[in-house]
Symmetry: C2
Subunit: 178 residues, 2 copies
DNA sequence: GCATGGCTAGTAGCGATGCGACTATATAAC
DNA sequence: GTTATATAGTCGCATCGCTACTAGCCATGC
């Protein structure tokens, strides 16, 4: 056996759509239609990020191609045709758990990716305290690199207000997690 | 002549890409390559919204098809092939000026569309004071409709922090415009 | 008894987007 | 004269968002 199975530890790049589908499968085997239901507009997760049915199936295809998800088995549907259950592979489970514990790199990713992580953690009774702490550190680094005088440029001004909003949001979260 | 030329007053729906291209042409006739230069990453406008060259040309095609832009003439290039100058039509000029004076409807559009309007106004020496005032009113309406207790849900919590950031950003802008 | 509507399960396909890569023209460098 | 570089514009691919479709199964109505 060569040095290590590095590939399982290398950071896997997926779109938020793919991550959330993988994240849902990590809760237990499911078929595309059921996953799509959880991600409809207005549902718990759908309020954070809506994913339409065709996109769910396309994400599943790509996840299977990437060997992060595999076909589990086919069973009769509730009231309709057969359905195909999918489940994450060992690599898939590892990847999604590492993703769930990893803070996002940019403020613009807080809105969707970070909130997704919080909800998915809660649904699986995983603790988000460390994630929140790490995210605050990342944000503090970002803020330290911001232009000191944002008065000169509207983009910088916008960024500084946004960074402060993100900071107080994370502080609120931190408080509500004790 | 029938009743009115209503179509010139009806609100025209374009993507931010199309608006910014039309907005640049409103500064004077230009060819696609020059427009693309202004919208490269890192430039004045490109820092707000980057538009790659192929997208600029596609936007021009659609604007011409919508009769908001027309071919002006062809002239020899600086150091290369001939170039085709475009300029807004009468309808195009009207549409872009109305767009520039219209606040955006959602907080998520402040980052790109609203900042674009501010910059494009400044470049053409148009006053943004009224735009800022109108935008503050729109935002106040939005905030009035927010959940009163954002403590129950992370999405609501995020939204309320973001709305407050937008408010203080607009207040800052208002102050710097006296 | 069979048709009609409705839910389940999945697919097809269109138009827009983002991006890299390509052609082609003219000037400058050596 | 060849090669490099900047100008000017186009092609094509993969993805995304969405509407609309097929198809299976059940319930209700008459």
């Amino acid at each position: 056996m060569d040095q290590t199975n590095q590939s399982t530890n290398r950071r896997i790049e997926l779109s938020p759509t793919e991550w959330v589908v993988l994240g849902l499968l990590a809760e237990g085997p499911a078929h595309g239609f059921a996953v799509a239901k959880e991600l409809r507009a207005g549902t718990d997760l759908g309020r954070i990020m809506t994913v339409h049915r065709p996109l769910v199936y396309r994400a599943l295809d790509r996840l299977v191609a990437a060997e992060l998800v595999e076909h589990h088995h086919t069973e009769p549907g509730d009231a309709g045709p057969n359905r195909t259950l999918h489940r994450p592979t060992r690599r898939g489970r590892g990847a999604v758990n590492r993703w769930l514990d990893r803070p996002v790199g940019h403020i613009r990713e807080l809105r969707i990716e970070f909130l997704l992580k919080l909800r998915l953690n809660e649904r699986r009774s995983r603790d988000s305290t460390k994630l929140i702490t790490k995210q605050r550190r990342v944000l503090e680094d970002t803020m330290a690199r911001l232009t000191c005088d944002p008065g000169t440029d509207v983009v910088d001004l916008w960024r500084s207000h946004n960074a402060r909003a993100a900071k107080s949001f994370l502080d609120d979260l931190n408080r509500s997690h004790h």
